[in-house]
Symmetry: C3
């Protein structure tokens, strides 16, 4: 496929600087050839502009002067680059129908336009909507619902009572609807608390590889529209996550916590249970959130990385911190 820069400019409302030119793909500033479009969004890569061989670069107004060749000026270069890249993306075409190796319960309802891949199994009472794509090895239990246009890339498990909105994208290894971690201690042993709720995702949610979202204990665990979860995230039972919130890999959210809309939560964060995180809260990587946080706001915990010798000395002092602070206050009194 070849597209003229002028077509792209028109289609996405960009300003083309330089002569028109045909392109056939996208690439990074460092590797783009003269037939490819690159972009600049992260200022850390601005120095790569000077030497780029790209046929055109999508840039913000402020950077247009720094591009040696053609550019497409955009109010949001990363988003417009994404739109251009999508034109060149080879998406697998939907092969409607059920693969002969799949096992579908007679009480499941599969839209005829849906694709059910090899070695999938689908339980009773489950409804699979129009244009849904299940890659190989997906396991869908009882009473699930998959909204139109959703895609389960491969080997996704929806255990039971999981409802996906439209156009959800679930990556391999994700497990939605496993039992929450509910245990009551009684007479010296653990008693399992039945987990009876489900999981509900809105439209346009994305769930990363090997991420787990537990079913609710009584009510449902719930993600609103356009929630974006990276890989290896753990979402406990009865968590609620507001629309347009994005969470990076390996973050864990304990049960019954509510997270607002438009939050940005970095990777490796731990959020305790039964908390309220407001709208537009940002949380830095590997923070431990042990209290509710109001939004908008940006939060962090932890200590900075250091060479290990310095760290050992400082960490040892951390153990004396209260004592030091008290000593200092006495000091201060003495000198008064």
């Amino acid at each position: 496929m070849r597209l003229a820069l002028s077509e792209l400019a028109e289609r996405f409302g960009l300003e083309l600087v330089g002569d028109d030119h045909a392109i056939d793909g996208v690439a990074t500033l460092l590797r783009a050839s003269g037939n490819e479009v690159a972009f600049l969004a992260n200022p850390a890569y601005r120095s790569q502009l000077a030497d780029t061989q790209a046929g055109a670069v999508v840039v913000a107004e402020a950077d247009r002067g720094a591009v040696p060749g053609r550019c497409l000026v955009s109010r949001n270069p990363y988003a417009d680059f994404a739109r251009i890249a999508a034109l060149f993306e080879a998406r697998p075409t939907l092969r409607s129908g059920v693969h002969p190796s799949a096992v579908v319960d007679p009480q499941a309802t599969i839209d005829p336009t849906a694709e059910i891949g090899p070695h999938c199994s689908i339980g009773p009472g489950t409804r699979v909507g129009a244009g849904v794509r299940l890659g190989p090895g997906c396991i869908i239990g009882e009473d699930c619902e998959l909204g139109a246009g959703s895609e389960l890339v491969a080997r996704v498990v929806l255990v039971r009572r999981v409802r996906l909105g439209r156009r959800c994208l679930i990556h391999p290894g994700a497990v939605l609807g496993a039992d929450g971690f509910g245990l009551a201690f009684d007479q010296g042993t653990w008693l399992k608390v039945p987990q009876l709720g489900g999981v509900r995702l809105g439209d346009d949610c994305e769930v990363g590889a090997n991420t787990t979202i537990d079913r609710g204990a009584l009510d449902d665990t719930e993600l609103e529209d356009d929630v974006r979860l990276d890989n290896q995230i753990q979402v406990g039972h009865n968590v609620r996550i507001g629309a347009h919130t994005a969470i990076a890999g390996c973050t864990a959210i304990a049960g019954s916590t509510t997270i607002g809309q438009y939050c940005l939560i970095a990777g490796g964060v731990g959020i305790a249970g039964h908390l309220e995180i407001g709208d537009r809260v940002r949380i830095n990587a590997m923070s431990l959130v042990s209290r509710s946080l109001s939004g908008p706001g940006e939060y962090a915990s932890g200590t900075p990385i250091q060479d290990v010798r310095s760290w050992r000395k400082n960490a040892a002092r951390f153990r004396q911190l209260d004592r030091l602070a008290r000593a200092m206050k006495n000091e201060s009194k003495d000198s008064d």
Copy 2:
């Protein structure tokens, strides 16, 4: 199904306060209808008592006065609610037999009452006990043993030499018996140290979704009875975990560490290798455990969550902590 409150009271040794009434399910205080039972265990939700529409509430003696309607007074409301909820839980009935799409080695032994779901595969020398349920896509390698009544919900892998006791429950995506991370560095490259041990679980263990438990290097990795693991936990080779210990999601335990009985380990904790953790140790979320801990006791590490501006200033000071402490001591000497 409908049950009289008086039946529940008798069955579980509870005191019914108010008139008898038929119920048909369980729910939260906020959502329960007049035919459902709710409960109060976490004091944070006590304020919801006043407005609940529940047909009855399971409460501790101390809270009976705060319930506007009927209640069931219990010495352990969460445990008794769990028992009541279990009566209303729709458990899949066991469909004994091997699904035609499953692949079972002729040298495996499957109890005729066991259920082997679609697309399972079972290796030679493996024995599957009475009433065991393997959901879809489970892979059991060689020389494994699954005790009576155990359930592998779906897509569980037991790689090799994994023995489960009775009534174990393993959630989707869990991998037991993969090689431990054993490497010897020699002449500039890594040499794999053969991992020859197995994994042994006692009775009544639960293993969460996408949790991994590595096989031992030489001896077995071992979980005693009633050990409860949440999702995405990593258990290294030759770890031993004592009976009745419960561990929350995303915690990682490095090789050859021993954890005692009745421990409560929160989520996101990291425990280094070759340590001894005593009985009845509690460890707070996201702590790093780099030395052995005696029990009983409660332990923590890390720093509290703060707004990012405050955090930045304090974190910068952490890097100077040893210097500050030394300066202070000199100060102190000077003023003596």
Copy 3:
């Protein structure tokens, strides 16, 4: 199988101290019988030498005097023990051919010596090399390449455009080639940035259970030769990891970060995106790496584990740290 100690000594260049003896296996110092070989590499276990019943112990020169019976003196006891253990390891024999339950695209190329296990599926354009072993339930998408002698133990997913070198070993549940977490925020919603790159592994790489390695956004995500990844590691898009680097479980590396050669990264570490980590860098467990680190060097962050009462006091002071430090400086000025 029985082997004489003198044979082992000759084969691996070890010095046999004591009389020759036949052995038939390997075990730990504590459990070895008179027909088994044990080893001492970690000094923490030196006290076990005195009582060992092992037929022989592989030890360093410095420990030879402490062994009561026979020993094999080695310059690298752990590595030589690994070599001896490998002789006694029962490796599954390769059963060349495609299992009848596997689904192989007609446009895939499978070497006749390769083994494709039950319920595998292989997409178009994929090439599987000589002697490759795919255990049950592996899913290989389009345009992948598996180098000679590689093994995918079971239920591994290579989503698309994943190339493995020779002799790679991938453990169950690993997902290579899922989409990176690329999102552009535009007009109040997230726009997915197409992920078009692949994943490339060199020779002799090992990838642990449930580890995820995302495909690059434009270029490939890349692991050089002999990179060793433990379980539940997350490798973001466009990360590059240098040869001979080993990373322990649950570590996460955000997008576009480069890690050098011969690094040792402990478990639970978080490494932010777009950083450069030099060669021979060591990073301690659960550190947060938020800036580039030059090598060689050893780094750490975090605070030490304490009993929770002490920790609470010290953690509260951390929040005042900048204030305390300022007060102290004023103090200091006052007393000047």
